[in-house]
Symmetry: C3
Subunit: 347 residues, 3 copies
């Protein structure tokens, strides 16, 4: 694999950016303002890093027009430098073109349909009634269960499990260890059973539908619906180790950071940002354009766009202990304050 | 696969329910009160959904006697409609009967014993001294390590890892990505090592024992004991992405929702309900019939049945910021209130 | 497999411990003070368990000199009994020596280099340019992606995924389900896209570097860097289900308990202890020798060694509800107190 190379002139033309500086300079990779060397492209999007611009040794920098003058070398001017950088950086991604065809160690059911140019890696298992569309790539050890459908150009990096009745849209990207379509957690408590009662499993009869351009992180789990489907609309982005319970619906373009969790039948709007480790209880609704900060727990529906939080601040342990102990008596504290106020208000 | 069909008369007889309405009506699936069509059965258990009863188009509804009169069509009367529905819905679960026998791509150790009617799927690996009992199903990519024992009729859906010395009871159901029997997190800090000290691994010599009828969710992890076993008694139900550390013991019929975590050597009682994302610190004991709400952190033993919580409520970020900042001085606030009270109490 | 046996004389000599009691006694395993029988060795490190010493039936006990007199039977005296016990217990770990060589079902790329004495288990997949060094063990179902490097004597227990550009040092131990080197969660929001905008993926071009003697728990995920690498220095110990985002750096000898999570580009010092379920936000720095207690959320950099916490205590639900409701008005409460104080201060 020889690294790809592009002149600044090529990059400017291809991504419709304004070039300032040496058009013949060759770029062979990307770096940060701090780390990039002469053959690398850096970017300045977050103003926090502006002080690093003057001393960068990057061959060129993608930046806003307002920052161009301060750039010591060549630059590519973009309205949104981070978006432009993301597009350019994709040129330098190391990639081995997948081999079309089905690896000899894969087990494909008789009724499964795999497009001729799809790539099915070592030890993949494809179940009855499954479909893998044109250009889809299944890395090693993927399981595509009964009646699952992998959309065109979808990419299951490795070791992805689609249990059954899971539909992935076009260009969906799924990272290793993700499990889609496992049973939702449905239990009925049978009081009449022996002992003091026992659990009965509620059959999980629905599926999972993932819209076009979604991304699902490593070891993330998305359960299939109890009745009806669990749904991610298009362009939903899930980080690692996220848990999505049965019959959840997530609106288009919503992004959730690592370890977030959504309980059964919650409905999340479009363009939401859910912070790392945030939790959303079951059967709630969250409006469009809602931001939930890291580790917040959403315990009621959110009807208006905005930013929502919960939790208490980090402190050194001895101070925290004292404050936490007082929390246990906060209601009493408030009542005592009220009593004082009342007395004080008396003439 | 043609969908199964049952008349209401058949369902009433089979599940010992009282039928009101057309006994010859054919049911071919289930739905919600809102979504069900004429060939489908719905149910009304949660009073929250009672308003939907009048307008349901379901072919029949499972409900309590008290709701029967308000039902526009046929109904099946049950003392516990959710339990009855769960049982009926199981008839409509799509299922491909597993093929008995060992897939040609599976690797089975010489000393392993696999029942003749067990099913071992593609790429399964079964280690020395392992045992797979009658009727057990190992879906694709399961690993059953040395000296593990899979009980009769147990079902490892796919990609389940039993590392070693793991015993599963009868009818245990394990979902993809679950890892049972990995090393517990045991470390001793050796101050005498180079640098300022280093970790020494404490060998994890125990196993994992899972009782009959337990269910283990996708990507859940249950470590083996350090000395002695990690134990789940019968009918314990674990959702996805739960972490159970070494030497934990969970009492029969306890259910834990997604992302809950239990630290080493904690003992949880019978019939407990542990909410999503709840945490239980190590070496604690929790009595029977304890409910821990979502995300609560249990930091001390719980001796009495009841419901326990921690956390602070969700708010819009600006309000939350102000309140959270005050939390850092809650102890001081309480002292100031006390001082005022003292002054006020003086004659 | 016959269990190993050692006399107390052998153990004392081998681990340089002082022996009191019958040197010929044969030890064939380990147990707790409470459970150990005559052929087993127990230990007393935590003073909490001292009351169990008098009644132990263990064949011998590893303990401090100060506890030796109270021991009813033989004992091995150690400066650090837990460290000594960990070393001795390793003798009794059941272990099947791995078979050197590559299992017939493994798929090894043409350009991969696997040491002759390394062991590659069933269904392993090794990608182009990968390297597996001397004495390394890959249990069943491991995936070692392109340009990954597994150090000498490293042990991938089973079903470990190294996606690409992942380097493991010597003696690194990785448990099942761990995913190293998946894409970091890098997204740029393109406002100019159709609808009200859409996400663009930011290519993740870096790798993962894991130092010597690290341990990575089951279903833990460590993403590769966006630009540059995600790094764990030597002897870092991660429990299960931990999430490490792109470009995080963790200092040597730091240990993190289950379900902890670290957001992008955070830098954690050496010899830190991060409690179970703790969270660390992105781009923060944490000094050496910092302890973060279970479930705390670190929202700002920590410059000084010490113990840090957040959260509120567990209570019975009715009390907790009342206190939590007051938290929503804590700022107002503080202002009202201030107002009273002001009035009170007036002459």
């Amino acid at each position: 694999m020889s690294a790809p190379q592009h002149t600044l002139a090529e990059l400017a033309a291809r991504f419709d950016l304004q070039l300032r500086g040496d058009a013949t300079r060759v770029i062979a990779g990307v770096g940060t303002l701090e780390s990039a060397v002469a053959e690398q492209l850096a970017f300045l999007a977050n103003p926090h890093y502006r002080p690093q611009l003057a001393s960068t040794r990057a061959g060129a920098v993608v930046l806003r027009a307002a920052d161009a003058q301060a750039c010591p070398g060549a630059c590519l001017v973009a309205a949104d430098p981070y978006v432009a950088f993301a597009r350019i950086a994709a040129l330098f991604e190391p990639s081995t073109p997948p081999t079309p065809g089905i690896h000899s160690s894969a087990a494909v059911a008789a009724s499964a349909v795999v497009a001729a140019d799809a790539s099915v890696g070592p030890c993949c298992v494809i179940g009855e009634g499954a479909r893998v569309d044109a250009g889809a790539v299944l890395g090693p050890h993927c399981i595509v269960g009964e009646r699952c459908h992998v959309g065109a150009q979808a990419n299951l990096v490795a070791r992805v499990t689609l249990v059954r009745d899971v539909t992935l849209g076009k260009r969906v990207l799924v990272h290793p260890g993700a499990v889609l379509g496992a049973d939702g957690f449905g239990l009925a408590f049978d009081k009449s059973a022996a002992d003091q009662g026992a659990w009965i499993k509620v059959p999980q009869l629905g599926g999972v539908r993932i819209g076009d351009d979604c991304e699902i992180g490593a070891n993330t789990t998305i359960d299939r619906g109890a009745i009806g489907d669990t749904v991610l609309e298009e362009d939903v982005r899930l980080d690692n180790q996220i848990q999505i319970a049965h019959n959840v619906r997530i609106g288009a373009h919503t992004a959730m950071a690592g370890c977030a969790a959504v309980a059964g039948s919650a409905k999340i709007g479009r363009y939401c940002l859910i912070g790392g480790g945030a939790g959303i209880l079951g059967h709630l609704e969250i409006a469009d354009h809602v931001t939930v900060t890291a580790r917040a727990l959403v315990t009621h529906s959110i009807r208006a766009a905005g930013e929502y939080s919960s939790g208490v601040p980090l402190q050194e342990n001895p101070q925290w202990r004292r404050n936490a102990a007082r929390f246990k008596h906060l209601d009493e504290l408030a009542r005592r304050l009220q009593a004082l106020e009342k007395k004080d208000a008396k003439p």
